[in-house]
Symmetry: C2
Subunit: 346 residues, 2 copies
Amino acid sequence: MTKKRPTIDDVAAHSGVARTTVSRVINNGPNVRPEVRARVMRSVAALDYHVNTQARLLAGGSTGLIVLIHAFELDAEPNSYYHSGLELGALRACAELGISLHTRTISPVDPDRYEKISELITRLRCVGMILSPPFSDDEAMVRRILDAPCPLVCISAGPRVQSMTASVGMDDAAAGYALAQHILNQGHRRIAYIDGPEGHISAGQRLVGFRRCIAEAGLPEESLTVERGNFTFRSGITVAQDVLSRDGRPSALVCANDDMAAGALLSAHRLGMNIPEDVAVAGFDDTPVSEIVWPPLTTVHQPIRRMSARAVERIVETLNQGQDALAPGFEAIAFEVLPRASTLGT
Amino acid sequence: MTKKRPTIDDVAAHSGVARTTVSRVINNGPNVRPEVRARVMRSVAALDYHVNTQARLLAGGSTGLIVLIHAFELDAEPNSYYHSGLELGALRACAELGISLHTRTISPVDPDRYEKISELITRLRCVGMILSPPFSDDEAMVRRILDAPCPLVCISAGPRVQSMTASVGMDDAAAGYALAQHILNQGHRRIAYIDGPEGHISAGQRLVGFRRCIAEAGLPEESLTVERGNFTFRSGITVAQDVLSRDGRPSALVCANDDMAAGALLSAHRLGMNIPEDVAVAGFDDTPVSEIVWPPLTTVHQPIRRMSARAVERIVETLNQGQDALAPGFEAIAFEVLPRASTLGT
DNA sequence: GTAGGAATTGGAAGCGCTTCCAATTGACCA
DNA sequence: TGGTCAATTGGAAGCGCTTCCAATTCCTAC
């Protein structure tokens, strides 16, 4: 019937060494002569051997469990797309690696949240943890996890946390810069920007990059007006309504996320404006809504799934190297500006 | 430190039987006296024992793998929301059960698709398979999988496939009926309906139910006009544009999915109509877009994640009972009509 | 040369579970 | 009462891997 998958013993026999040695090689352990290592690797390739993760975890006494922590916020950003995207990416990566993921939700205002985290770590005996915003900027939480100790990767961490543990994310400042470039290339010189909620790391960085590009282009300070929204569709509607109906209205309106940009589009329509002729609109994130509006929205693709997948991979890489903590450092995942009709015309 | 999790041997010791017997009990195997079974179960509860899935799969020689098959369609419905929802639901259920999921994409027009399926089954040695539309109505494909033999659950299967294997989904006809009821309750008597692509099972059933409700309400045939769209936002725009600008336009416009309804909303705005005063609009699915439009869209929540989660659970239940095929039969997952401002007014 | 220590390798004991097979028990019939 | 067969129970061998520990080999330094 179906040929059985080769086992570690098959590899051992094929390369004439003991099972132990093969184990050392595939876990890149020490104390193997380079030539033996090479020989074993050749056997692995020849037999198309893949370790059986189930057996590995069982023998190693590991749970092979990674926990992803999301913030549960009663009101705030309707970010289920963001969160499910992260979860899906992480889950796929785990499936690929043969390990498992548990997703937990904790309230960012729960006074017991630190206790809960600690309890989670000891009870679940997970091999690693992933924190999504806004927890990825909660120093006390990070400290707690690191002290457990438990390997930790943060998604879109703030600068302070970036120096404490590994983090992955999109380079928001660069994304802001790139989108500004696109807007300037379209000839706009009076630009309005609707920022996200105060203190939001990514939103802040996007604006920083956006500003820098405009400054570098030599445009005067007053070319850019910045308003504050809160990432919701409704805030996009009201803020844009306001911005677009005052004197000296901008020729381009950029929003810190797609939901607000969708709201801005609506307000522009209501004011009888044509897009992008009367006002160009752009957002960030590339959520599904950006294609289900009219005209299709220019935006910056944020690789949510890749981000969480990398987080999982980095934890596993670290573990495979026998380390029990990740080196601090930010890993940027490539973004992409997607110019669509809302800034391009027909 | 952390107390170790109890093993099967702990349970055996606690209830004074052999490990084998405990194994029989937890796998509800035959040949255990009721009193012994009860005693073991009591020990399981007392020790809070949970089987170690890794060990179970390893010993049982099973891959513990379920494969989810999606159709990859170059053009067609931009249904990534639907597909990721299914995947996420299935992935979560698998995580819960300690098994793994692989997602594969196959083209519905690939002439080799049947071969590929068979090869997948033998190579991956999966313990079960889940088919999403439109494969869930592809009799030949279903036959092929069943003959492998491989346990199979179909998502939103058509009537013929429903008699071949197990399927789960929303009762689309009932959903159509319920939405029609809501529309009629709002007093509408001239209704237009934008159907989905021809041959689409769910779309068809939604309309069937919708029609039935209207007929049962005793409304004349001509109260309902039906047009055909293809599920895309753009088709919603154009068809609605057409419907809303002709004589005797409807007071309510229902679309077979949210994307088309979003398009309809846009066309209504363009024509200077107020919603829902001039025309009420409703959709199906409760995708994220339904809340990121103005006004928020009345829709029917389709429990995508629950559907795939149930599919996974049913496969595992079947396996646990030692059977190797699922009994044919449709399992309906509860839907919910979500009345929002697009039909309710302010 | 040779002792001593480091670097390499192999042996063997499990990890927690299923399952084959043998042993025991019970029930039924002649 | 003895024999037969089915129902129940237990023993033990692995599943494919890691890891502790002992054995072997290879270099040094003296």
